[in-house]
């Protein structure tokens, strides 16, 4: 019969229309911004820099190795290495970024920087309401705008952060054990030296392992730097 196909199509439309009142499957829209979808854990938007502890400058994990700068496909990261060093989470002396800029108008949210970072220093954020009236300065984020705390990271990516924290705790424990062993060895080699004792008690990283090789006489100034 001519028109049968049209009637069948209209029947489907009617089924969807009335179905949308009863079936959640057929009505999937939400009233943004009053209503919001929960973002999945893996969701990503733009990168941010992680820091440990309360101070963004002291706790910044980035050691300015510039791997992400080189690997970033659209080259949106700009890093300038510091002249001096600061201790990282295991107490090792590391450079830090004097300048760390990400041009988010260029960034394509590909997550390559996160994958290549060996220091767990850069992660992807979930914030997406970022409109600004300044298209140049407003979208060029510097170190301070990018720095976010580890607590924030735990909040947005709980599973990923737990895995990362566990790995870092293990690294720290290993470094402490190594430092303690090195300090004990140094104390054994020169039991009269008073400088080796504090290194053994606070066990602060690499500064203590270096004097074990060079002898106890040099250990005093180097452990001081580590503290």
């Amino acid at each position: 019969m001519l028109g049968e196909g049209i009637i069948q199509g209209l029947f489907e439309t009617a089924r969807n229309f009335f179905g949308s009142y009863v079936e959640k499957d057929r009505l999937t829209t939400v009233q943004y911004p009053e209503e919001r979808h929960q973002l999945p854990e893996a969701s990503r938007n733009f990168p941010f820099l992680l820091y440990d502890g309360p101070d963004p400058d002291a706790g910044l994990r980035c050691v300015s190795c510039q791997i992400c700068e080189k690997e970033c496909p659209p080259r949106c990261i700009h890093i300038e290495k510091s002249k001096d060093k600061k201790p990282d989470f295991v107490g090792k002396q590391q450079f830090y970024p004097a300048v760390f800029n990400i041009d988010v108008s260029v960034c394509m949210s590909c997550q390559i920087c996160v994958e290549v970072c060996p220091f767990d220093a850069i992660r992807m954020d979930k914030v997406f309401e970022l409109s600004t009236s300044d298209r140049f300065g407003g979208l060029l984020w510097d170190k301070h705008e990018l720095s976010k705390s580890n607590e924030y990271y735990r909040q947005i990516h709980p599973m990923e952060a737990a895995e990362c924290d566990e790995r870092r705790a293990k690294e720290l424990a290993e470094a402490q054990a190594k430092a303690a062993a090195a300090a004990a060895k140094a104390a054994q080699a020169a039991p009269t030296s008073p400088a080796a004792a504090p290194a053994a008690t606070n066990g602060s990283g690499n500064g203590a392992s270096a004097p074990a090789k060079s002898g106890a006489a040099h250990s005093a100034p180097e452990t001081k730097v580590a503290q």
Binding site: P40, M108, S109, I112, E115
Partner: protein, 379 residues
């Protein structure tokens, strides 16, 4: 006939030929694509496709970056199907560097690629029917289902469209069991959607009158022009790279390759519906057979990969046709030559042959049935 204005006018009569520029900002051109159309009344006597408005130097950028940094750029080729684009590229690199892929990664790749195929075909049918004047309804239904697939992609890879998910030697992250359950639930629901979607307009008399016999592509021309994908199969040529090459693990799945007969717009429309059904079959089998295990070969160096000097061509059956990546390595960290074989562009080359002698309105639906994405055409 070369189709110059003077030649055309010598046949039609002086002042009878009108030159119309369709696009590049016309919604029916699915992006920034322009057609120089010469018309005699309503009839198309000459059609010249003009593209390049979205050229982004994709191949040169990839040649200047490391092998890894080309993956996020492949997302942006056919931006509706980033998963299959990733797969095509990593397959070429795997061939070039001789990398094996773990079992579980192969299964997840198939699941991701088939979900991509489903959402691409659903979207395409929606857009095609929109072009024909079924304003909104089919497109909204298609996008409703596509949205659910994109949500799955987001919880898997982190992004809805620019997934950047596959890596040479495997995948970036593993999927959770919860994710697989969600895919199972969705796969169980989707056949009902395909039924509804098909019933909506399949038997519609207006649609049949409009599409049957429009934009016919003979199978000889389709083969000669190198047309691939659903376009080729709608013309009755049995050629599916999943069957021919059996790349990945496609030899383990039982599915049919639907074939058309007439090669007109209606066949191409039905081809997508039928392929969606076959896709669901593959998905069910893949979800049943997925093993536990690693998702990436731990020995693969993602950063600073240096394949031995040589060349490789990796090709897959993307939703639009044969997507191939040709790579030449000179032993350094970036490819010496990187070339994409884009199905959209090659399927577009025969547009004039399909449109000659038809009305202007038929050009729009013929173009719609080719299924192009300008990101891939222009690269």
């Amino acid at each position: 006939m070369s189709g110059t204005l003077a030649e055309l006018e010598s046949i039609a009569g002086p002042g009878e030929i009108m030159e119309v520029s369709m696009g590049p900002h016309h919604p029916s051109t699915h992006g920034v694509f322009r057609m120089d159309v010469r018309l005699e009344g309503e009839k198309v006597v000459r059609l010249k496709p003009v593209f390049g408005y979205l050229h982004r130097n994709h191949e040169k950028i990839a040649e200047h970056g490391a092998y890894l940094s080309a993956i996020p750029y492949t997302d942006r080729l056919d931006y509706l199907c980033s998963m299959t684009n990733n797969w095509g590229y990593v397959l070429a690199v795997e061939k070039l560097a001789g990398i094996a892929v773990p079992e579980r990664a192969e299964y997840i790749r198939v699941i991701a690629a088939e979900l991509t195929r489903f959402q691409n075909h659903a979207g395409l049918v929606g857009f095609l029917l929109q072009d024909m004047g079924a304003s909104g309804t089919p497109l909204m239904y298609a996008f409703r289902e596509r949205e659910k697939i994109l949500d799955l992609f987001e919880s898997l890879s982190g992004a809805r469209m620019m997934c950047n998910y596959m890596r040479f030697g495997g995948l970036r992250v593993d999927c959770t069991t919860g994710w697989l359950d969600e895919v199972r639930q969705l796969t169980a629901r989707l056949p009902r959607f395909v039924d509804e979607f098909e019933n909506l307009l399949r038997g519609n008399e207006i649609l049949m009158a409009r599409t049957q016999g429009t934009g016919v592509l003979s199978h000889e021309l389709a083969i000669n022009a190198g047309v691939t994908g659903p376009m080729l199969r709608a013309s009755g040529v049995n050629y599916d790279i999943r069957k021919v090459d059996k790349y990945g693990i496609y030899d383990r799945f039982d599915f049919r390759v639907p074939l058309g007969d007439h090669g007109d717009v209606y066949d191409r429309y039905m081809m997508r519906i039928l392929e969606m059904r076959e896709t669901l079959k593959i998905l069910e089998q893949a979800l049943r057979g997925i093993p536990e295990g690693p998702i990436i070969d731990p020995k693969v160096r993602l950063r600073g990969l240096r394949p031995k000097a040589g060349e490789a061509y990796g090709r897959i059956e993307s939703p639009k046709g044969e997507l191939g990546f040709f790579l030449i390595s000179d032993g350094s960290t970036n490819p010496y030559r990187y070339r994409v074989r884009p199905p959209s562009m090659i399927n577009l080359t025969i547009l004039e042959d399909m449109c000659l002698g038809q009305n202007v309105a038929d050009v729009v639906i013929t173009l719609g049935s080719v299924d192009i994405v300008l990101g891939e055409v222009d690269r």
